[in-house]
Structures are given as C-alpha cells and as structure tokens.
Amino acid sequence: MKKIIFMLGSSTYASKAKRALTRNGISAEYIKSTDSRNLGCSHGIEIPYQDFIDAVAILKKENIQYSVKNV
C-alpha cells in the first residue's frame, strides 16, 4: 500500500498528530526520519496515501504544523 509521511519534529507533536488522526479513523503509525530542514532526525507519522487529504484537514484543524515526505 502506498504511504505518505507527515514530519512533525518532536515526538510530542508526532503523538499529538497520531492521536488526532486515529480519533478520526485514520490509521497512523509512528516513524522516525529526517525532514527537509536537515537538522537531524525528526519524528513523524505514516498514513495510507488515500487518507492524505482528510489528514491534512485534521492536522490543520488541530493547528499542527508538518512537512510532507513521500515514502
């Protein structure tokens, strides 16, 4: 299944995002990777690609900032 990753920075925001998405029925798994800021490792969550648009809306509603990374 194709996946997409939201990079959140801290594990706090990764947990916040994961809980927000899970509450709204989107399967989200924790992941550690690097983000576009090249500052070292960062925490993120991985979701099914088909849930991307809904996920963006939820994260925006929760005022969670992120960057997107293709798997």
Partner: protein, 371 residues
C-alpha cells in the same frame, strides 16, 4: 505507622498507581522520543497521554503546553526564570514556600528584579493592588499554604492579574488534587505542581501548565531533546524548549494514573472526606487545653503546645510511629505571618487514605499526654 505527612508527599498511593509504575518498569520503560522501537514509541505515547490528562484535568486545552519537570521546585524556578523580564517588580504572598521565596530573593540580590510581599490573610485583592507599581509585571502566589492549608482563591489572583495586565504564576503544590482547579475559568500564565502530593503520583515528576497568553521564549536547561540534533540550541517550541534530557517516564505514567484515580473518585469526594477528617480532629483537639491549634484548613491542622514549643510533641509522635512534620516547613514567611517563627509548629496533613480511626489514635495519644 499512621501517616499524617501528606503535605510532604502522599502515602500510600492508589494501587493502580503502583501497578502502572511496575508495569512500566517491567514491560516497556525506554527513553521516550529518542528511538523508534516499540518501547520508546509506547513511552512517548504514554507521556503525551499524561500531558493530555493534565490539560483536561485543569481545563486549559493545550497538552503541548504542559512541561514536565523533576518536581514543583523546578517547575516554579523554570516558570519564574523564563517568564519574568529583567527589571520587573513582582508581588508574592506572605505564605510562600522557599521554592518561590528563594529564587525571588536570589534574583533580587542579583539585581534582576524587585519584589513586594502581600498579606494573604486579610483582604487579598486590596493588599495586592496597593503594591502594584508602574514596573510591576507579575503576581507569584501559592494557592494554599503548606503550613496552614489556608487557601488563596485562584479566582481573585487571576482577576487582579488580568485587570492589571500582570503575569500570574501559581504554586498549586498543596491544592492540586484537593480541589477542582479550572485554568479555563481562571487563566494563569504558569500553574506549577508536583506529581507526588495530592495528585498521588510517585516522586520524580512535576509540571508547569503554561495556560495563558505569555509563553517562555528562552530555555532554562540545555541538553538533548531527541530530534533536530544539529540545532545548536534547544528547540524553540514547548514542551521541548524546557525539557532537556531523559524524562522520568515511570513518574509521569504514575502521575497520569493518579489523576485518573482522582477523576474516578472525584475531587469533590476527596475534599468531603478530608474536610470530615480535619473537622473531626479539630473537634477532638479543642478539648486539650495544653494543645494550641494554630490553623486548620484544607488537609492541614497545625498546632503547638500552649507554651509554643513543639519538640516534645514531635518526639512523642515519632516514638509512637505517627508521621507528621514539625518545624518551619521551608516556609519562614508563613511562620512569620502566624507568629510561629521562633519554634515552628507541628503539621498534621491528611489524605483521602487516612481514616477516622487514625484521627482517634492521634487524639488518644495527645490526650494521654496533654490534657
């Protein structure tokens, strides 16, 4: 042992708190926010769950603004030293614990700020307002004295702070868990509390709720934060701005479980039981002419001998395995306010887990020796 030292730390803890700590240490305790293996992820999620519980319990809606610390002393130091600008004048109460008084004195001695002390035992609003000057920037106040249990209503402090555009830093150490505290109704720039007193967690975790509009912008301690390691500074967002190094996962898990216990029992039921025990104790002690009750509020009854001395009561209770705390309780201002600065007092501090039989046992012992 009969344990009446709950203002120092609560004992016993609810069984579910003990189980949660054991489960954490046995089954999944790792370093949260560092690795991506299952145990580390679970710890990160448990810690976030605790942030959510605290935000919900105190009704202020932003779990990411809950910063974990070692205890309330660290919480208050961090809040004071990251929020209050240089050359400020601040107002503190005459009941403050040394966890507020000492950092304020240090900052004053260093020329960073000046301070005034308001009398919390009379007209609070009037006493604070008459101290406000052009350079006053903050009110820092306990919500309940650790010497007497006297409560300073958060509603008054929050109102005066808002009306005068002042920061408000609250020390909730003795009130958290004893009474419902609503930071949504009573905004507070920083609410500080330990996990191990009225919230029934184990020692090792305290927290700050940054529940107002002013947030810290500078770090207090610098170290590892588990992400963006190439950054030469701490991350610039809460909570990681103020959380350097490994968080005490077992203590935080226990704090979450303690809050869950309180919410199941309800703060109202806890307050009702403590009020009953305190009133029962006071009623009995009033029969003892050689015992002088200094104050009786919330979960605390403070007393001395009629001569003002406390050493014999202290020795008696220690010998008979009744746990209390006597002395100045790290709160010299409060003892000045109550006139007990010379000898201090004996503090009996109750919890939900004390019983009327224990109150009777204490009374019988004192009656036998101090009629």
């Amino acid at each position: 042992m009969i344990y009446f030292d709950n203002a120092a730390t609560t004992y016993p803890k609810p069984e579910r708190v003990i189980s949660s700590v054991t489960e954490c240490i046995r089954n999944y305790c790792a370093n949260a926010g560092r690795s991506s293996h299952d145990n580390a992820v679970k710890c990160a999620e448990k810690i976030y769950e605790a942030r959510e519980s605290i935000a919900r319990h105190f009704n202020f809606g932003k779990p990411e603004n809950v910063v974990f610390t070692e205890n309330a002393t660290y919480a208050l130091n961090i809040a004071i030293k990251t929020l209050i600008p240089k050359n400020s004048h601040v107002i503190i109460s005459n009941l403050e614990h040394n966890s507020v008084l000492r950092p304020i004195i240090k900052l004053a001695n260093d020329g960073y700020l000046t301070y005034s002390v308001y009398n919390a035992l009379t007209d609070i609003e009037k006493n604070i307002k008459c101290l406000i000057k052009a350079d006053t920037r903050a009110i820092i106040s306990t919500l309940s004295s650790n010497v007497s249990g006297f409560e300073i209503p958060i509603s008054i402090l929050s109102k005066v702070a808002r009306e005068n555009s002042l920061l408000f830093i609250a020390d909730g150490s003795q009130l958290a868990g004893h009474k419902r505290i609503d930071l949504g109704k009573n905004p507070c720039d920083a609410f500080c509390a330990p996990g191990h007193k009225g919230l029934f967690g184990i020692q090792g975790a305290g927290f700050i709720c940054f529940a107002g509009e002013t947030l810290p912008t500078k770090s207090f301690i610098e170290g590892g934060s588990g992400f963006h390691s190439k950054l030469p500074t701490m991350p610039n967002e809460l909570p990681e701005l103020l959380e350097g190094g490994t968080l005490p996962t077992p203590a935080i898990v226990s704090l979450n479980e303690g809050i869950s216990f309180i919410e199941d029992v309800t703060p109202e039921a806890i307050a009702e039981k403590i009020t009953f025990l305190r009133s029962s104790l006071v009623e009995r002690l009033e029969n003892l002419k050689k015992i002088k009750i200094i104050s009786a509020n919330s979960a605390i009854v403070s007393l001395t001998q009629d001569s003002g001395e406390i050493s014999k009561i202290d020795a008696l209770l220690a010998r008979e395995k009744i746990a209390i705390r006597s002395g100045l309780h790290c709160a010299p201002l409060a003892h000045n306010a109550y006139g007990t600065i010379e000898h201090g007092c004996v503090r009996i501090s109750l919890s939900y887990f004390n019983s009327i039989d224990e109150v009777d046992a204490l009374y019988s012992l004192l009656k036998h020796n101090y009629v």
